[in-house]
């Protein structure tokens, strides 16, 4: 009964177009009125729901990414990557993807990566006579890696809600991130050859590459500082995120001399804006999740799913298809916040590793970034490349296909995801 009221209210509010955090809040409130839980817990949980220390890493990583972008770090990454791919057909497209992969190891957000790399690479590609749709598609699909290659904001939120190791998730995301990144490179190369974009004609020049690497040495060392610290167990994710902020200030301000006071102020408000629109959802969803659990919703869902099949592969396939469908309409972090408390007990019941499930969840959200009507990366790339969303969504189709194939491989061979965390002793199974 309570579950019915809860879900009907939630869907009605979402359908009306209320902000997602308020929809969850209203649904919770309405179902509280029908049970005998005291109303005073509302205000208390609004505070305690977000008072979770690991979440502090999210605004810090956003702040660090924003400072890196304004501090000229992105340009230095691109300078180096371009030296590698100049000779290849569609070299600029491949360079965009590689630069996105690199920036993903600094930033934890998908659209943030598209904005950082696309701002510089889309005009560069258009100047060289590349198709605008191709330029937008490569940037938006490369940007999806932002949430898979650690650090990753969705992984932090999943780790907090699912109560599993964020470091383990960060390790598990690395190999799938590289696989999907390389498959994007392959798609970019194949499409460019088909459309005859040609290469820049520049010969590979070791001297120039070394000069560029030396010039950008501090920018290039950023992932080593962030990920090296986390992987080796020296820093917690929160500490690594703060070190990333100060490192960005050092590189952008003292070494590149590009940051001024306004840049820092804008970066701080950027981080606050995303915190206020996304993490507030965690606050209202906490009670929501508790009510679902008290009313045994996950158990009922588990019974329903195992009624269809107890085969591990079939269950994962069903869940992945549902994620694809939801991804068309829902913002990615909201999907994770709402669905994790419902689905996690179900998959645990079937003996599925929570780290493996988290990575699959995050990878399917990569597709959600690219599927209209609500595909956030497409919106950013549209703006940057001046291409209509309809045309852009046709251009990203080969990339979506590549991600879907990778997801199927990853879902059916969990060892690809789990070997690194297992090696470092972070996986449960």
């Amino acid at each position: 009964m309570t579950i019915a009221i809860l879900s009907i209210t939630l869907f009605a509010c979402l359908f009306l177009g209320l902000p997602i955090f308020m929809s969850l809040g209203i649904a919770t409130f309405v179902s509280l009125t029908t049970s005998n839980i005291p109303m005073t817990m509302v205000a208390q949980t609004l505070y305690q729901g977000v008072d979770k220390f690991p979440l502090l890493a999210i605004p810090c990583f956003i702040l660090a990414g924003s400072l890196m972008e304004r501090g000229g770090v992105t340009q230095q990454i691109i300078d180096v990557v371009l030296r590698f791919t100049g000779r290849i057909t569609g070299g600029l497209g491949i360079a965009t993807i590689l630069a996105c992969m690199f920036f993903s190891a600094i930033s934890g957000s998908g659209p943030g990566t598209v904005a950082a790399i696309g701002t510089l690479m889309i005009p560069a590609m258009v100047n060289r006579g590349y198709d605008r749709g191709y330029a937008g598609a490569v940037s938006s699909s490369g940007g999806t890696l932002g949430i898979l290659i650690p650090p990753s904001n969705p992984m932090i939120i999943y780790g907090v809600i699912a109560n599993c190791s964020i470091v383990g998730l960060f390790m598990a995301g690395m190999v799938p991130g590289i696989i999907i990144g390389l498959s994007h490179c392959f798609v970019a190369y194949y499409v460019a050859r088909k459309l005859n974009f040609g290469s820049t004609g520049e010969q590979f020049n070791t001297r120039e590459l070394l000069i560029m690497c030396w010039r950008g040495k501090f920018a290039l060392a950023t992932p080593l500082v962030i990920l090296g610290g986390i992987y080796s167990g020296i820093f917690t994710p929160v500490e690594a995120s703060v070190i990333a902020v100060f490192y960005a200030l050092l590189v952008g301000g003292a070494i590149n001399r590009k940051l001024n006071f306004t840049d820092i102020l804008e970066s701080l408000t950027d981080a606050a804006r995303i915190t206020g629109t996304v993490i507030i959802i965690v606050g209202t969803s906490t009670v929501f999740g508790q009510i679902l659990t008290v009313n045994q919703a996950p158990l009922k869902l588990a019974a329903f799913i195992t009624g269809i099949s107890t085969n591990w592969y079939v269950v994962m396939l069903i869940i992945i298809v549902v994620f694809f469908f939801l991804g068309m309409f829902m913002e990615t972090l909201s999907t994770i916040i709402i669905l994790t408390p419902v689905l996690l007990p179900v998959v645990m019941e079937l003996g599925i590793d929570p780290i493996y499930f988290g990575v699959i969840f995050v990878v399917t959200n990569e597709v959600a970034f690219l599927t209209p009507p609500l595909g956030v990366n497409l919106f950013v790339a549209c703006q940057l490349s001046n291409v209509s969303i309809e045309r852009l969504s046709l251009h990203v189709l080969p990339h979506i296909l590549a991600i879907v194939l990778c997801i199927l491989v990853l879902a059916f061979f969990p060892d690809i995801i789990l070997w690194l965390p297992r090696l470092m002793g972070y996986a449960a199974y």
């Binding site: 997602i20 505070y47 220390f53 902020v245 629109t277």
Partner: protein, 185 residues
């Protein structure tokens, strides 16, 4: 005379951007606290007791202040797809209706926050590390929701002054624009 104008400009700047400056300030406090903690732990090999607590307080304040800022900028995350099915000239009415419900519940949450505060001032709780009265920290819940409500009304009031009832909630609609702005800036 110039002094008076300057003061008025400064006041209107703060009135327009209060959350922005405040958020940037608390965010900076949060980062500096965490930075100090890391510095003390790795360089001086000593533990700070207050830094984690203060940074957590700052974090919660950033969330609800940031939510108010986002309400003013109209960038809160919504599912706008069902509204795309409506004819375009009616779309903004749906948004106005949704925001009206949002406003009512905002005020309700703010009221609940005040009840909670009253309770917390009667039975005082102090934070473990800094010995602060936590009621002052929890004050962000009613404060944040009141400010958010104010910014929603303010946005609609501006729409009304600009183009009457038909302009209300018009630019608020396009989810594309808002999300792009949210992520791109």
């Amino acid at each position: 005379m110039w002094g008076g104008i300057m003061i008025r400009v400064a006041i209107s700047n703060i009135y327009e951007n209060f959350e922005k400056y405040f958020c940037a300030f608390i965010m900076a406090v949060m980062v500096i606290c965490l930075g100090a903690q890391v510095f003390f732990r790795f360089v001086l090999d000593a533990a700070l007791t207050w830094s984690e607590e203060l940074s957590r307080f700052a974090f919660v304040w950033v969330i609800y202040m940031g939510a108010s800022m986002a309400a003013m900028e109209r960038v809160h995350i919504r599912v706008t797809v069902p509204q795309l099915l409506l004819p375009s000239q009616y779309r903004h009415y749906a948004t106005v209706f949704a925001d009206f419900i949002w406003l009512i519940f905002n005020l309700f949450f703010a009221y609940q926050g005040i009840l909670q505060l009253k309770h917390m001032f009667t039975f005082t709780f102090t934070s473990p590390a800094m010995q602060w009265n936590t009621a002052f920290v929890y004050a962000i819940i009613p404060l944040g929701f009141f400010l958010m409500s104010f910014r929603i009304v303010q946005g609609y009031w501006r729409d009304y002054k600009r183009g009457g009832i038909h302009a209300m909630g018009v630019d608020l609609f396009s989810s594309e624009r808002s999300i792009v702005e949210e992520t791109e800036k």
